[in-house]
């Protein structure tokens, strides 16, 4: 995973820009969404027409506060906006409304899980501190066509939460794990959709290195606008190697802003410190300081879902799930809640339910829907459970039938497939297909006695009685044949042992 020489330590801080899941833009009533014709989602405010004024979108502020609550920040009493002034055609007012001094989220932490030694072994957990997160407006998109330039302001004014970490990350693997955990938290709380293919999550990555054990941080570089988790990982690996090479060659690191070419797999210098913009920040006079009432905070606190890893620990420790199934379930809140509804309907075998959900149900859902836009190739995209033909209580019913030996595990697979196809209850399918096991002790006793009496099996009986345990299995075939395969295998085993014993 890491090819950093052991005497160097890499220090990473991330700035993650997330488009919030809101109906309207952050300072205008214009709606926004992906895939519209250029400049279709604009209004006088978005375009910065003379005389227009921003009005803070309450939904965007509340989603930001919700994020703060998810990461355990202390929600500030108030927040305010500042103007960041710079000229570029994608910026309709030539200033961006952002939060410099009083952001909406201060502090907090994100728990991460590093990869374990293998897929079914849990890796190390760590906490990454959040410095702050501020709510700002996205800019439009400038493109060059022939001799001219074209600008599309659909993205301008889309609410953007910039989440800034402390420099707590120490490897590319930790950066990856952080982003996965962050995305899970954002999506599970309904704060953001985080679809990287749609540009809903972009990252700036600060990297420095220092001698292991050193207190002082090295000079950092910032690589901007990374639009996938793999480019963040690759940037960290590339930048770490480059900086070690520079320092070991006796050069120093220049504080600079860099870009990343994902196709070539290499970084490049955008501008150095001397060329840094002077943004001439000042408090926006159009937006008064916003008071965040404790009533609002209390109301939003109720919307905070159970933390990903708290849920995982609960599944493993309280419900007795294997780590692998637990880790799959907790990654998708809707799936986990679906699972819990099934457990509520049949509380005695959570693992049995988990295995069906994490394996069979997920597989069939993914196959029937086709994978939705995945933000990260290593983690399956959330599946849509709204169209799932099986309801949680129905799945519980199937596991219950298996647990009560009404059907065998092999039959359960067949019933599951039918349930997924038709949405019928397991019991109805079992009855319709005549799959119900014969557990009638009286009837089975008769059949067992008849089979034992058959001279054709006398040899196997003798072997069993002589101590060959496995010889008993030779008797089960004929019994199954007599019952068209419906005999309860557990019961047959018991009966055989009783009569032969």
């Amino acid at each position: 995973m890491s090819n950093v020489p052991s005497d160097w330590e890499v220090v990473i801080g991330l700035e993650v820009h997330v488009q919030l899941h809101t109906r309207a833009k952050v300072f205008a009533s214009s709606p926004w969404g992906f895939g519209k014709a250029p400049n279709e989602q604009v209004d006088p405010v978005v375009l910065g027409l003379p005389g227009t004024l921003p009005v803070v979108n309450r939904e965007a502020v509340e989603k930001s506060i919700l994020f703060g609550l998810v990461v355990g920040s202390s929600v500030p009493e108030h927040c305010s906006w500042d103007r960041k002034n710079y000229f570029y055609p994608d910026n309709p007012k030539n200033y961006q409304l952002t939060q410099k001094d009083f952001p909406v989220v201060v502090g907090g932490q994100v728990e991460i899980e590093l990869p374990g030694a293998s897929r079914n072994v849990m890796g190390e957990h760590k906490f990454i501190r959040i410095h702050h997160a501020h709510l700002e407006e996205d800019v439009g998109k400038l493109s060059h066509a022939g001799s001219g330039s074209l600008v599309d302001y659909n993205r301008a004014g889309v609410p953007l939460l910039e989440i800034v970490t402390e420099p707590d990350l120490r490897s590319s693997a930790e950066a990856e794990a952080f982003l996965r955990s962050l995305v899970a938290m954002l999506t599970q709380a309904g704060v953001a959709d985080c679809d990287m293919e749609k540009g809903q999550l972009r990252c700036d990555c600060n990297v420095s290195i220092r001698r292991r054990g050193a207190d002082k941080l090295g000079t950092r570089t910032e690589t901007k606008n990374l639009n996938s988790i793999s480019s963040v990982r690759d940037t960290v690996i590339y930048e770490t190697a480059r900086q070690i090479r520079e320092l070991e060659a006796g050069h120093s690191i220049t504080q600079e802003t860099r870009g990343w070419n994902a196709e070539l797999g290499r970084g490049y210098v955008l501008r150095d410190k001397e060329d840094a913009h002077d943004y001439r920040y000042f408090p926006d006079p159009d937006i008064p300081t916003l008071k965040i009432s404790r009533e609002t905070v209390a109301r939003l606190a109720k919307l905070v879902p159970e933390n990903l890893y708290d849920r995982q620990r609960r599944y493993v420790e309280k419900l007795g799930l294997p780590y692998t199934a637990a880790s799959v379930l907790v990654n998708d809140r809707a799936l986990a809640e679906w699972f819990e509804l099934a457990v509520a309907a049949h509380p005695t075998n959570p693992s049995g339910i988990a295995n069906l959900v994490a394996n069979d149900l997920l597989r069939d859902l993914a196959a029937s829907a086709g994978a939705a836009g995945s933000f990260d190739e290593a983690v399956p995209a959330p599946v849509s459970l709204s169209s799932c033909p099986i309801k949680p209580a129905q799945l519980a019913g199937l596991v219950k039938l298996t647990d009560e030996a009404v059907i065998s595990k092999q039959q359960a697979k067949e019933v599951f497939a039918e349930m997924f196809k038709t949405g019928q209850d397991a019991a109805a399918i079992v009855d319709a297909k005549g799959l119900r096991q014969n557990s009638d002790t009286g009837e089975l006793e008769k059949i067992v006695q008849e089979v034992i009496a058959d001279p054709a099996v006398a040899k196997s009986i003798a072997e069993y009685r002589a101590g060959n345990e496995k010889a008993i299995n030779a008797l089960k075939g004929p019994i199954m044949k007599c019952t068209q395969g419906k005999a309860n295998p557990v019961l047959i085993d018991q009966l055989l042992r009783k009569f032969l014993g």
Partner: protein
């Protein structure tokens, strides 16, 4: 009959319209006829869509006839400064930068006027982007003081004041960032009110300095000024700095003869012309005679007002005017290279010298390494000035000073001396810095040139300012005054 209509107040026009002795169409035709003769001399209007005005007037007459009149302004023309958006009308801010811009939307005040039945009557000249005190910074035309066509009308709402003094319209809207309603009102002998910051929505007012800008009513009498103010003031969710419905109750006027009037110490000494000082002193004596308590108040930080203003206002302006870059609308340079080169060239060509001067100053005071010494200090000074004014206004109801130290100067006289020009606003700026309501009331003449006094009150004390003005106006002959042209 028709030639006298331009001399009538909005209130009297309203009465005649209501009585059925006058139609809005007749009124507008009379005003258009006068416009055709007078406007080229005065230069108050930059644009008048006559067909649109007559269509609005005809619609108003139909409404009234059907018993569906909308309010006290039904059928009455209101002329609008060219930095306030009216759908389908030019919104040039008297700048080459926006010379071709037609607003695709209505400002909040335009909506309010339409809802009150008013006729949205033409666009008024101004200093470019409201930066100036003489309307000489207009890139479109010059405006002259109707009382003396060799002199400036004041600014930046020079067109708004001149149109009233010339009898071109009974009511007008101005905007005031440091005195831009009150100073031209004083120079043109009309009433101009800058409301409490937040009383009138800024939605649709092209921003100069957002924390100081307010739209306000201008008229030839206190009664008309109040009529227009009442139509404009309402909550608006599109301006977060505009008071909500629960926070906008005006303080009752009370008995004007019992007002406590504070005279700021030293204000009548600072370069105030003797005729101006005499007129203002006479007004003070009038109020004393009426029974008002007159006392001297201390405003020790008043000297900081002008420098503080020119830091705060230019800082905000440098950012507010950033959007004029030729990309989406407005002037685009023909010498286009890269997008950024095109933006630079468009701004260099589109802005006039005073606007450029203020953008440069504002950019400087916000830049890294200087912001603490200038912008941040100015914010501290502003807070101090506001605190001193509020403290003074805890002991008195209004503060009375001249509106402007000297009467209107000659066109071109101060064109090469911006610093001298900035002192025109020395008495009016503090009300903007402190967010307080203020009014200029005509109180005399310096020779043939009008002089006004200035009242500042506590937040939401507009009714007191108007009551004080009404008391003075009723006993003097300055209401409804117009220049002879």
């Amino acid at each position: 009959m028709a030639d006298a209509l331009h001399t009538l107040s909005a209130a009297e026009l309203g009465r005649r319209l209501a009585a059925g002795s006058l139609t809005s169409r007749d009124l507008c035709e009379a005003l258009i006829a006068r416009y055709q003769v007078i406007n080229d001399k005065v230069g108050a209007f930059t644009h008048l869509d006559q067909a649109d005005v007559l269509a609005q007037a005809a619609a108003s007459d139909v409404r009234r006839k059907a018993g569906q009149g909308r309010g006290p302004l039904e059928g009455i023309p209101v002329a609008i400064k060219d930095n306030i958006a009216v759908k389908g009308q030019p919104l040039t801010c008297s700048s080459k930068m926006l010379a071709s811009l037609v607003s695709p939307y209505d400002s909040h005040v335009a909506e309010r006027l339409r809802a009150a039945g008013a006729i949205l009557y033409g666009r008024l000249n101004m200093d470019e982007f409201a930066m100036g005190s003489s309307t000489e910074n207009s890139a479109i035309r010059k405006t002259f003081n109707p009382w003396d066509l060799a002199r400036i009308p004041g600014g930046s709402s020079g067109g708004s004041a001149a149109a009233l003094a010339a009898g071109l319209v009974p009511l007008s809207l101005g905007s005031d960032t440091g005195g831009s309603i009150r100073q031209p009102a004083s120079h043109c002998g009309v009433v101009g009110l800058k409301p409490t910051y937040g009383l009138i929505s800024r939605f649709g007012l092209v921003a100069f300095a957002s924390s100081l800008d307010q739209i306000g009513p201008m008229a030839r009498s206190i009664e008309d000024c109040e009529l227009l103010l009442n139509a404009l003031a309402s909550a608006d969710a599109r301006d977060m700095t505009c008071f909500g419905p629960s926070d906008r109750a005006l303080t009752p006027a009370g008995d004007a003869k019992k007002l406590r009037i504070g005279i700021p110490k030293g204000f009548l000494g600072k370069g105030v012309a003797p005729e101006v000082a005499a007129a203002v002193n006479a007004a003070i004596e009038f109020y004393r005679a009426q029974g008002c308590a007159i006392s001297e108040v201390e405003l020790p930080s008043a000297d900081l007002a002008v420098p503080t203003y020119y830091v705060v206002a230019t800082a905000e302006a440098s950012s507010n005017l950033g959007r004029y870059d030729g990309v989406r609308y407005g002037h685009r340079s023909a010498s286009a290279g890269t997008p950024v080169e095109m933006m630079t060239a468009s701004r260099s060509e589109g802005f006039g010298p005073e606007v450029k001067r203020r953008i440069l100053l504002g950019t400087f005071v916000l830049s890294a390494g200087y912001a603490d010494a200038y912008y941040v200090r100015a914010l501290r000074a502003r807070a101090k000035i506001r605190a001193e004014y509020l403290a003074a206004l805890a002991g008195v109801d209004v503060l009375l000073t001249p509106t402007v130290p000297t009467p209107a100067f000659k066109v071109g006289e101060k064109a090469s001396d911006p610093l001298q020009l900035y002192l025109e606003d020395i008495f009016t700026i503090p009300a903007n810095l402190a967010g307080l309501p203020a009014i200029s009331v005509p109180c005399g003449k310096s020779g043939h040139l009008p002089v006004g006094f200035h009242l500042v009150g506590a937040p939401l004390s507009e009714a007191k300012l108007l009551a004080a003005g009404r008391l003075f106006e009723a006993a003097h002959g300055f209401a409804h005054q117009q220049a002879t042209l």
